[in-house]
Symmetry: C2
Subunit: 201 residues, 2 copies
């Protein structure tokens, strides 16, 4: 058999496109991808991708979803080995900032993709927020945390984490060119400071 003759049907174009797009976004940013280029890369005609993704945005949504899942996995890994809730929270913050530092384009895509942002941040992260709020209640009952609205305290923590991550992604001068190890230290220091301030420790 002359092995070179590829079959009429690709086999699993959808996943191939998704993986290629994921890699490309991660390395070169979201603007670097084009349907036609993806098609070429997969050795397929320029119209083929549209059999699997209604339009470019749908493809990007799918990539964002994948990226969100990856982030989620990293967060799970990070918290898995922590015993108490407080250390879990710290580990999560560090992992979040670290992901942003290591995959800025993916991080950006996740948050700029309306549908995914809604689903991921809405559903998945809600249980984490509930955990956090539970922890805050706990702390308040023990008299360790001031009697401010727990939702507000949770939101403040999230804002700090997201802000740190964003400053890195946006290449804010103060935080530019940080190794992910530096990012880790910074996240740890900032959250520690916040927690010390708020009274978590």
């Amino acid at each position: 058999m002359a092995g070179g003759d590829k079959p009429y049907h690709h086999g699993n174009l959808r996943e191939t496109l998704l993986e290629t797009a994921f890699r490309l976004v991660d390395s070169d940013g979201v603007d670097a991808i084009s349907m036609r280029a993806l098609a070429r890369e997969a050795g397929v005609s320029s119209a083929a991708p549209f059999r699997h993704f209604a339009d470019k945005q749908v493809l990007l949504d799918a990539v964002a979803e994948e990226a969100a899942a990856e982030l989620e996995r990293k967060l799970d890994e990070a918290t898995a080995e922590c015993s108490d809730a407080l250390t879990q929270f710290r580990a999560m913050t560090v992992a979040y900032v670290r992901f942003a530092a290591e995959h800025p384009a993916l991080f950006d895509l996740i948050h700029s993709t309306e549908s995914v942002s809604r689903r991921f941040l809405g559903e998945v992260k809600d249980e984490r927020r509930l955990k956090l709020i539970a922890l805050i209640y706990e702390g308040q009952n023990a008299g360790l945390i001031p009697e401010a609205d727990p939702e507000l305290i949770a939101l403040t923590s999230e804002a700090l984490t997201h802000g740190l991550a964003r400053m890195i992604v946006d290449r804010h001068p103060r935080v530019r060119n940080l190794s992910s190890e530096d990012a880790r230290k910074l996240a740890l220091a900032a959250t520690h400071l916040l927690q010390t301030g708020i009274g978590l420790s």
Copy 2:
């Protein structure tokens, strides 16, 4: 004279393009602008804009610069009527978040434009950070603020502010569909919480 005959030269194409682009980004987002559309809008041929802006990115840089200046103006206005440094800091935070809530696309553009981000955040905001750090030193000398690295404390405050703004721009579920009045309250509450925690008040 038959008034309709427009002259060969537009007169001030550059500024017209800039203004139109600014308005369009603000209302419809950065993806809504195209050189050709801007040219049409200005009643000029599609190649004309390139006499004034080497490429699209340069045009966007200029818009971002304008937006950054606008933000700066808002921050100045906000702090102008405040006496003590602490109230100034709070007002600045509120104004920053408010700008993000009211002009998400411009806010986004500012931070995604490498050159402007470097200049604006690097130069202009540096003096504000110095002010903030001075305030923190003051607080530490008076024993009101724990002896953590002032730079770190300043960075933490900035991260919180930027994070809040970003959560709004990114339409994070928790802060979605916020009126700018709500944004004001939220920013105030969060910074107050942070300051209370850190010991600024």
